[in-house]
Symmetry: C2
Subunit: 202 residues, 2 copies
């Protein structure tokens, strides 16, 4: 089998989801960096791999490209302990992946503007609006984690990986996570999983 | 088996995805309407079913609730002709579902404001911004459909159902679809599928 190639941007939490899962699965991969702050994902070559112009993209076979971080998580985790075999549990994992997709931009965009692009002043008003939605999503997660160690079925799955990726770096976007103690405990629980790597660890 | 119950709002394209698939699968279901324009999904009873406060929600078993329209599509279509068994094709279907989830709000929100809430004037500026992103997404779909009859594997799947639901009513949000001829042909192709029902058909 060819080595998998991951088209990625190191600070990206969406890219990190895939790096974390691949590392925990013990699957070797080659990481190819595209600096989104320099529009490197807008080149004709990149757009031929993902017309949407976004990382991460996984080259599954030479010339076969899969986009959308949560779709890649499902693809890689099928048949592994990270995606439940039980139909109802699997449905709940996928439900949380779509919840994440609906809400992550509220959490990711302030981090992009503040910590990656250093444009807080010019986006101040939009950031305040995003906080309203982002805190609502965090409260839903907090409520769920008050009675669950992990998001689905009492065990670590790609639902946790997906939600963890953006949530644990939310403070880099100005979010205050100290008001969500169950999220805080869950973050530490994820960090103690076998094979855990940090977001910018290569 | 109990009759499935679908918590739904008739004009909702997200709800329609589930109604269309259930009808095409020949699975009977009871539709329970929640008028989102009257905040009926914000009641404590509804929030106990989906803390996110959104329809559709499928009651799979008494007391077991599944939210997120695309997660419900995957759940219902597993093992049927609407979700490919082939791993790579299935991955592509799920990729398009996440693409839809990333982009549908650009297409759905103008329709909500213009045709359902009749608030065009107060949202005019936001609607113009949404059009920019929405037309980009439509162009990606158009390009793909220029060389594909359906989104994945040359056959009708939940990727088509999901993308069709919001796209075919985009003109109710002021979108001009006449500039996308391949989308137009694809829309007619979907409407000719066995078991097709209209969005507000009960």
């Amino acid at each position: 089998m060819e080595t998998l190639r991951l088209f990625d941007f190191l600070p990206s939490a969406n890219g990190y989801k895939i790096r974390l899962l691949l590392t925990q699965l013990g699957i070797p991969f080659e990481r190819i960096n595209f600096d989104i702050t320099k529009n490197e994902t807008r080149s004709p070559d990149f757009l031929s791999k993902n017309p949407n112009g976004q990382i991460p993209v996984l080259e599954v076979q030479p010339g076969q490209y899969l986009a959308e971080s949560n779709a890649i998580l499902i693809y890689l985790s099928e048949g592994t302990e990270y995606l439940p075999y039980d139909r109802w549990q699997r449905a709940q994992v996928i439900q949380w992946l779509f919840f994440e997709q609906c809400n992550y931009a509220y959490i990711a965009t302030p981090r992009l503007w503040i910590s990656i692009l250093h444009q807080y002043d010019q986006h101040r008003t939009e950031i305040e609006k995003l906080y309203q939605h982002g805190y609502t999503a965090l409260q839903i997660m907090e409520n769920h984690l008050q009675t669950n160690n992990f998001f689905v079925g009492g065990r670590y799955s790609i639902a946790d990986i997906s939600l963890f990726a953006h949530t644990h770096v939310a403070p880099e976007g100005g979010y205050d996570l100290t008001q969500f103690p169950a999220i805080g405990t869950w973050i530490e629980r994820i960090k103690s999983q076998p094979g855990y790597i940090d977001i910018t660890e290569e």
